[in-house]
Symmetry: C2
Subunit: 275 residues, 2 copies
């Protein structure tokens, strides 16, 4: 049976399209919200590499960890923030929701890469576990999508992201070329310093550090008590192979991060327990 | 200088108190909320082992992952639900918040054990990463407190927890005797079956499984679109050493779970990349 003119035209169109467009499809998200300068920087850099679709939270979602919205509804609206070529969606959910919605409802396919950030503030050491930025990257990793989370050690809304643009490009290109290993996502943190003071890129392990919380107890106008959580970051890990050491010494830290939480090395010990 | 009668009395009192009270101090929390039957079961069992302080969310917090409240305030109220000897607090925050507040503001010391659950529903395989129940246990682990998360594979509010009470007791006693290894928390899941059909306890690894999301798009009364997230759980891991295998075959699964997310085995490979 012969193919119709229309079928041949369609086949040529699909072939041309796949041949000519070699640019990777990149899903971009963050946890500081769709208007955050860190996200705008990441979009700008990714536009030079691939076709960019943004699905980011409509409001700040810092500290959301790997929360997902299962008992409530989600909204998602197409928006336009600047003249860039990217397509953008603002989502009412958490960073992990944004990735799920982006992949399964907006793109309806797996992108070639998912990048999250640039976070305004550190996601080094134990912060990775509380981080919405890293949860988005980890969610993509769970879905088999190569993923990188980027963070700058500057909480300020006016943080200077221009100094790290070339490094974001360099790390992303290297990740696309070398391919991020399966079941691994990259956690990239940038020190807060001038571009010329950055000493290089170090592959690190997550420092063994933690927060000691303090609760600031106050009274509301009705006399009822409430708390603000505050805390002090404690790093007792003296290793020079950690992300904290790298950042304190002017390096960009790259930690290969996993989502298999099994402590495999403890299985044998637990098998010796009697129940 | 001689001690006063009052000082001597106080010293004897403190000595007697520490000698006579050998019971461990146990912090209990969950993610289904303070009124959940799963939590009430856990409190009942823990009351037979130690001195129990409950700090649990005032509303359901399922799927909250490791979210913490950093941009808002927290409320915490002393409450009484039944005639048990435990002390209880209802907290407006996430499960991880409950542990932080419980340790640093309520107890002002590290308890001997933190238990979370019993969750109404599975926290096996990748569910551990979305789980508020496990995040509470992991938060305690980060703070150096021995911790166990318990979950029953039954989402129903009326789930039958009576069949697993003796196993919770058995596993908790074993954990207190054998001591949970450092930087490890236990993720315990119970199959949904009669007590007599439970085949035993298996130490497992987390199965390599994931969710494929679907988004149910609807229109609100104003004609605006919104979504409900739904999903299908996919397990392609055929290993007989996984939590999913154990649960499907009538065993209680115990997975040693870690919070160092470094993929240590990938550091060497990443060091071969050129940037």
């Amino acid at each position: 049976m012969q193919a119709s003119h229309r079928q041949i035209e369609m086949s040529i169109f699909v072939w041309l399209d796949s041949t000519m467009s070699k640019k990777p499809l990149i899903l971009v998200t963050n946890d500081d919200g769709i208007s955050a300068p860190g996200l705008r920087t990441l979009i700008k850099v990714m536009n030079t590499i691939g076709d960019v679709v943004v699905v980011a939270p409509d409001s700040p979602q810092s500290g959301m960890g790997h929360a997902i919205t299962i008992n409530s509804t989600l909204r998602c609206t197409k928006v336009k923030f600047d003249d860039g070529p990217q397509t953008e969606y603002s989502c009412s959910g958490t960073p992990a929701d944004c990735v799920k919605l982006g992949v399964h409802e907006i793109l309806k396919c797996k992108p070639d890469l998912c990048v999250s950030g640039v976070n305004h503030g550190s996601n080094a050491a134990i912060n990775v576990i509380y981080s919405g930025t890293m949860s988005a990257a980890i969610e993509a990793g769970i879905e088999g999508i190569p993923a990188i989370g980027f963070s700058l050690l500057d909480f300020s809304w006016d943080a200077d992201f221009s100094s790290i643009e070339s490094y974001i490009l360099q790390i992303t290109r290297s990740a696309l070329t070398n391919k991020i290993p399966e079941s691994t996502v990259l956690n990239v943190n940038f020190p807060k310093c001038k571009k010329e003071d950055i000493k290089g890129i170090k592959i690190c392990r997550q420092a063994n550090a933690y927060w000691i919380e303090e609760f600031d107890k106050r009274q509301d106008p009705m006399g009822k008590e409430y708390y603000w959580m505050t805390g002090e970051f404690i790093n007792e890990d003296k290793g020079e192979d950690t992300d904290i050491w790298a950042l304190q010494n002017g390096y960009i830290s790259v930690v290969p991060t996993q989502f298999d939480l099994t402590a495999h090395h403890q299985i044998q010990k637990l098998n010796s327990w009697t129940f």
